[in-house]
């Protein structure tokens, strides 16, 4: 098991990607803040990045990295809760709509998911504010609520008001992402259910639940992980919309303000950081592949892979 070449290859391609992203960010910097870009050449800029210096915000006059790290916990919590909502709902709903496609509730779920895909988030978010905050007065309309400091990490997940505040933005983001996963799981399951091994299992009299969970769902995990890594960018983008809409004090709203103020250095630093995060996330996905299907482990030599359907 020699995974060194694989690892070096990954590191190499990763650093080239980041390098390209950094060059693009420098180009954007020169568009937004020409004076700033004129003061520093591209190789100086890249050199600073390599040394972990992400420059100084033009507006705040503080290091960009500090600014972004300061706002990161809020965004992170929003992303985590959103992902949890998506994961906890997509699995059972996907399973249910695949098993009982003709039932009324299943049809309603599918229709609703179509709505979720089609409606833009700024609309659903605004409607949610109107309904739950303005009309019904159940949930607060903006902000993060009460914060508890866990060391240097400000968390909103340990207070009632924190949870009240996170419900709407997290639900709004998950409403757009949930349908994708739900439909993916459903499609995978329906496909697997008609495959030979499952038919064989049915013929052997294995209980339906065991078939659904063990043969069906397990096969749906890989595409789901792929989808998750692909949707990471979408998640970041939607989080930005949600942060603006609900005045969530996170990285996304910091970035939006940066755009409005024409804060070139901050925008450039954010882009580089997000591309690093992208890369890390994709690498994690590759590792996860390995856990669920040893054939695809990045540390393994490629061996011919025999699919489920091949006899």
């Amino acid at each position: 098991m020699n995974y060194l070449p694989q690892l070096t290859q990954r590191l190499l391609t990763g650093s080239i990607t980041i390098m390209l992203a950094a060059c693009v960010s420098y180009w954007i910097l020169s568009l937004i803040s020409p004076n700033h870009a004129a003061a520093i050449s591209l190789d100086q800029y890249l050199n600073q990045l390599l040394h972990g210096d992400f420059g100084q915000s033009q507006f705040y006059h503080l290091p960009n990295l500090d600014l972004i790290l300061e706002k990161l916990p809020a965004t992170f919590e929003l992303v985590i809760i959103t992902s949890l909502i998506v994961a906890l709902l997509a699995l059972p709903l996907g399973l249910y709509t695949a098993i009982e496609p003709q039932q009324r509730v299943a049809r309603a779920v599918m229709a609703f998911s179509l709505l979720g895909i089609s409606l833009p988030m700024f609309l659903t978010g605004t409607l949610m504010v109107y309904l739950f905050a303005v009309q019904l007065n159940w949930l607060p309309a903006f902000g993060r609520g009460e914060i508890v400091w866990l060391g240097s990490w400000p968390s909103g997940l340990f207070t009632v008001s924190g949870w009240q505040h996170i419900v709407m933005p997290a639900t709004a983001v998950s409403l757009t992402l949930l349908p994708l996963f739900l439909r993916l799981i459903r499609a995978e399951l329906i496909q697997v259910m008609h495959s030979n091994p499952v038919r064989l299992a049915q013929a052997m009299g294995i209980t339906p639940w065991r078939i659904w969970l063990r043969y069906g769902l397990r096969n749906a995990t890989l595409p789901m992980i792929t989808m998750a890594s692909l949707q990471f960018g979408t998640l970041m983008a939607y989080t930005m919309v949600a942060e603006t809409l609900f005045q969530w004090p996170g990285v996304g709203s910091l970035f939006m303000q940066g755009i409005i103020r024409g804060d070139g250095p901050l925008i450039a630093a954010y882009l580089v950081l997000v591309s690093i995060m992208f890369l890390l996330f994709n690498s994690l996905t590759d590792l996860a592949y390995g856990l669920f299907n040893p054939h695809l482990a990045p540390w393994r030599q490629h061996t011919p892979f025999i699919g489920q359907d091949t006899p």
């Binding site: 006059h61 503080l62 905050a133 007065n137 603006t244 809409l245 005045q247 939006m256 409005i260």
Partner: protein, 523 residues
């Protein structure tokens, strides 16, 4: 622990909690959201409406404008003009700064000197040459030239604690340093005599203020003891948060939300005439066509600014025919908005341009109410006299840079008089551009008429207000005839609140709310 004891313990806790909660409610707290929070606690770091509003909470000026635009003594309850150069201010006795130091004439002198070094404020305080300390509680402000608006400037002279800002901070920088967005000591530590003190501040997230228990103004009826300020950039979110009951007071309110707030039970919308003058500068340097008086007049006649005020601004603006809003010294009632399409076409053909020409135009898209929409309407209106306009709108961050470069033929500009006086408009928008003196700094049209310069300069030295008014009105008359710029409207002010709060009691025409004097009812 047996269940009963457990229950007792719980009920005690609940009781304690409810006492605490009711204590908080009784404390008359006010939750406010505005569009952006000031970058600094230092009143002299950044010249902006938000920073002036904040300065009135943390500091006191020598004088201030009342809600009906009269001067009122604050730290200086009385003042007299000694001669054309000098005004004597008698300071209030027994006033203390937050840090405990007593207020003296030395603080006034020091604050003035400091303000005169501020990049944003030095032009405003430029007419005052120095302060002369007479005794502990008497100070003279002295100008080099006779200057009519010395009292107006005293409304912007916030007195800071000179002893508190002595010495150096941990970074070895002078505590009184003014550095724009430089996180200086003064930008993060406030010691003023004002009605509120900062208890918590997270820039961009929230600011909490507590009423100063020993505030000197015992005559104030105000009952607000806690203020929580949150910046919410998005107009719709700000309005929704008010409607949802998460806030008590918001500003600004976008015109599109006015009706919604007005009709909602338990909500209150306050609007009043404002003094921010929105206009379009016609660049005579980039375009020879715009040097022709008839072309400039044609453009003014072609733009239906009454229509803009009623349709785009939804009545939330007063259409303007001049710079000075009603109530200002220079306002001349007969200068009404002009709109006459036939006359505009005639003027164009007289000038030999009946085939028209192309112009470029820039406007901000997040600075003034409906700025981009107004610019789009102007494009359509000018097409009717065959002027094709290429419009580019951009965020204010990029806009001012472009404006300073004179980057287009037509440029939108809004101006609020720093001194609440007519002359300030002309000094910045209509006088000949002069890099040395700073006059005509925002005169994007490069309009230049020596007679206007002469009258405006003379008006500054004229201390007789009747004669001064005549001069300033004459200036408006000349600018009107010369078609120096396209006057659009004066933008109104809007605040939304829950009922029980009437911000109108304490709001000045300059959009500064004296929150310390605000009397609110429990919801």
């Amino acid at each position: 622990m047996n269940p009963i004891a457990h229950q007792k313990w719980l009920s005690t806790l609940l009781l304690a909690l409810s006492c605490l909660m009711s204590g908080l409610v009784n404390a008359n707290s006010l939750r406010i959201a505005y569009d952006a929070d000031p970058v600094s606690l230092d009143p002299y770091e950044q010249l902006s409406g938000g920073s002036m509003q904040q300065a009135h909470l943390l500091y006191d000026p020598l004088l201030r404008w009342t809600t009906n635009h009269q001067l009122e003594g604050r730290l200086a309850p009385s003042w007299q003009r000694l001669d054309n150069f000098t005004v004597r201010f008698n300071l209030r006795h027994g006033v203390k700064f937050v840090g405990g130091n007593p207020l003296t004439a030395l603080d006034v002198k020091w604050s003035l000197q400091r303000a005169k070094t501020s990049p944003d404020f030095k032009a405003i305080f430029q007419p005052i040459s120095h302060a002369r300390v007479i005794d502990t509680h008497t100070v003279d402000l002295i100008t080099e030239q006779p200057y009519a608006l010395l009292e107006n400037l005293a409304t912007q002279l916030f007195v800071m604690d000179s002893l508190f800002y002595q010495g150096f901070d941990e970074q070895n920088k002078a505590k009184d340093a003014i550095e724009k967005h430089g996180h200086s000591y003064a930008s993060e530590h406030a010691s003023g005599t004002g009605p509120f003190i900062v208890t918590k501040r997270q820039q961009g997230i929230e600011v909490q203020l507590k009423r100063q228990p020993n505030y000197w103004d015992h005559a104030s009826m105000g009952n607000v003891s806690l203020i929580n300020l949150t910046p919410i950039h998005d107009n719709a979110t700000r309005s929704a948060a008010l409607l949802a009951g998460d806030l008590d007071l918001i500003a600004p309110v976008a015109p599109i939300d006015h009706y919604r707030i007005k009709k909602q039970a338990g909500m209150h919308l306050f609007t009043r005439d404002g003094a921010r003058f929105i206009n379009i500068q016609m660049n005579q340097v980039t375009r020879p066509e715009l040097r022709d008086l008839r072309v400039r007049q044609a453009i003014i006649y072609a733009i239906n600014n009454k229509g803009i005020a009623s349709k785009i601004m939804r009545g939330f603006a007063t259409p303007a025919g001049q710079q000075s809003p009603p109530g200002y010294l220079g306002h001349l009632p007969k200068l009404q908005p002009r709109f006459d399409l036939d006359l505009a076409k005639k003027l164009m053909s007289q000038a030999g341009y009946n085939k028209g020409f192309r112009l470029t135009m820039i406007a901000p898209n997040n600075r003034y109410v409906n700025d981009a929409k107004i610019a789009q309407a102007v494009v359509i209106m000018l097409a009717k006299i065959n002027i094709e306009v290429d419009l580019v709108t951009m965020p204010k961050a990029q806009y001012w840079q472009k404006y300073d470069q004179g980057g287009a033929d037509l440029m939108m500009l809004g101006w609020h008089s720093d001194t609440e006086d007519s002359a300030n408009f002309s000094e910045f928008l209509a006088m000949c551009r002069n890099a040395e003196s700073g006059y005509g700094r925002y005169n994007g049209g490069h309009y230049c008429n020596p007679e206007v310069d002469r009258l405006v300069s003379a008006s500054a030295k004229q201390t007789n207000s009747l004669k001064r008014a005549q001069m300033l009105q004459q200036v408006e008359q000349i600018l009107y005839q010369d078609a120096a710029f396209v006057p659009l409207h004066w933008q109104h002010l809007a605040w939304g609140s829950r009922s029980g709060i009437d911000i109108g009691q304490v709001l000045t025409v300059g959009n500064i709310p004296y929150l310390a004097d605000l009397v609110i009812d429990q919801p």
